[in-house]
């Protein structure tokens, strides 16, 4: 089954939110900028004060691959890996878990999948509208 996310001090907030079904991003408190991957300091204003913002969960596929050999460790079948450009302008590596194959330019929305240790990670399906 899907491996658990690796968690670090600076990133635990993200994975904890996934367990609550929330897709969050790091937000710099003083300057309101959003950053992914998370980092200890805002690279613009250098503040250490961070909060989070809920993401819309909507995005577009920029790229997709499927690891055939070796097959993806921990998965029954290698998943479609996608690079998503989120509506908020951030990029995120995830999976396409919808019907059929992903396509570059496809609109997608977020969902969550359980990992082997009972954690959750965000994945994406084809947007319905």
């Amino acid at each position: 089954m899907r491996p658990d996310p690796i968690q670090r001090i600076d990133t635990t907030f993200f994975w904890d939110a996934c367990e609550r079904g929330e897709f969050l991003v790091q937000k710099c408190e003083p300057c309101d900028k959003l950053w992914h991957p998370p980092r200890p300091m805002c690279p613009d204003c250098h503040s250490l004060e961070k909060s989070t913002q809920k993401l819309s969960g909507k995005g577009t596929i920029l790229s997709w691959v499927r690891q055939v050999r070796p097959a993806s460790f921990g998965f029954k079948e290698s998943p479609f890996v996608i690079l998503v450009e989120l509506e908020e302008g951030l990029r995120f590596v995830s999976n396409f878990t919808g019907e059929g194959a992903p396509e570059i330019g496809m609109s997608v929305t977020v969902d969550f999948k359980k990992t082997s240790g009972g954690k959750y990670v965000p994945v994406f399906n084809k947007a319905t509208s």
Partner: protein, 385 residues
């Protein structure tokens, strides 16, 4: 700068490139360094500077113990996987020119086929160490190998310019054609056709087939660098490092380069190309031999554009038009590169550049006076003094 003050490559050495060396990585390191010293005509005991990759398992103490180096005055390890191959030249040049040390050895020795598999998922990587925080954002999604990260990062570029699997295959054929007439290559006398490439199995859909990937190899490569004033008294024709530059912009990563730029242009390589031309008056495309890091075929296309051999989106046609072949305008890796000769993490492409300038290569390019060495974020122009 006076040529007597300028850094030169004065010795190169290597072990055989294999799939099972049958000896320790520490021994491979000692053997290739000794070979490089003999090539240069220096006593290994006089080495006083050392450089390798942060991924290398042998270290300064091991090397000193085997080679009897009396005293080192400089040592460093460089990050970023194969990108560090040409970065070592950037550092070595500055270090000997400034006078940190007089005789620098660079080495890379590994049993990455027989002892561990470099291309497979690694479960023992700490996400906080060795520049691998990126793994956190890839591993639970099943993107767990260098091939997967590379393919995901190159996807937008390949899509935008309609690069086909056949376009990539032509690059692999170029490397394997050269390797076929290089006796030191693992794939000596084993050329491939475009049909072989198209029939090879998928490693990562929809981009990388087996023959789009470099090898996993066992072996060691070493290089000796001194200043021009010392180089003139040694055994070989000195190969001057005319310029060596490095550039990495905000939010970029090396192979998992997902978060910065437009995923089309190679900003880092463009900066390196400009800096090289400014430093020595020679652009990469004006050199006689192109030694461009070939972990995977799409990376060659993106570097050809980043280092300004052609315009953005034109690389597939640059390849198709034959410019990279041994008789082309800018011959690519006449040793067969990392796909054809061996994968000693890019270092065997540097030694080939040196042989081309010396005029001693298996597939010698006629009248080669300059060569370009590249590993994405780092580049160097070498040539006759």
């Amino acid at each position: 700068m006076k040529s007597s003050d300028q850094a030169c490559i004065v010795g190169i050495g290597q072990t055989e490139f294999s799939k099972a060396s049958g000896r320790s990585e520490q021994q491979l390191a000692a053997e290739c360094i000794l070979a490089a010293c003999k090539d240069a005509g220096i006593n290994p005991k006089t080495i006083d500077g050392m450089l390798t990759f942060d991924l290398d398992n042998s270290d300064e103490v091991d090397v000193m113990r085997s080679l009897g180096c009396k005293e080192i005055k400089y040592t460093a390890r460089l990050p970023q996987g194969g990108a560090s191959s040409v970065s070592t030249i950037v550092h070595a040049k500055r270090a000997v020119e400034i006078g940190f040390c007089d005789t620098m050895v660079i080495w890379r020795a590994m049993n990455e086929r027989s002892q561990y598999r470099f291309g497979q998922p690694h479960f023992n990587l700490s996400p906080d160490a060795h520049s691998s925080t990126f793994m956190e954002w890839c591993f639970p999604f099943g993107a767990q190998t260098p091939a997967a990260w590379e393919a995901l990062s190159c996807g937008p570029y390949l899509h935008k310019y309609g690069v086909t699997s056949e376009d990539l295959g032509r690059i692999a054929v170029t490397f394997r054609t050269a390797a076929a007439s290089n006796p030191a290559a693992w794939f000596y006398e084993k050329p491939i056709t475009l049909e072989d490439h198209q029939a090879s199995r998928w490693i990562v859909e929809p981009t990388l087939r087996l023959l789009d990937c470099c090898q996993e190899s066992d072996g060691g490569v070493a290089i000796i660098i001194t200043r021009g004033d010392m180089a003139k008294d040694l055994k070989q024709i000195p190969v001057q490092i005319k310029a060596a530059e490095y550039s990495m912009y905000f939010n970029h990563e090396i192979i998992s380069d997902f978060y910065a730029g437009d995923l089309i242009r190679s900003d880092n390589s463009e900066a390196v190309a400009d800096a090289l031309e400014k430093a020595c008056g020679i652009a990469p495309k004006d050199t006689d031999v192109a030694m461009i890091y070939d972990n995977f075929t799409p990376q060659v296309l993106r570097q050809l554009e980043g280092f300004k051999y052609c315009g953005v989106g034109e690389a597939k046609d640059y390849v198709k038009d034959g410019h990279l072949e041994l008789h082309g305008k800018t011959p690519l890796s006449p040793n067969g590169g990392l796909m054809g000769e061996g994968y000693i993490h890019g270092m065997n492409n540097i030694t080939e550049g040196v042989r081309q300038i010396r005029g001693t290569a298996a597939n010698q390019i006629k009248n080669a006076e300059t060569a370009f060495l590249a590993s994405g974020v780092a580049g160097a122009i070498i040539g006759r003094a």
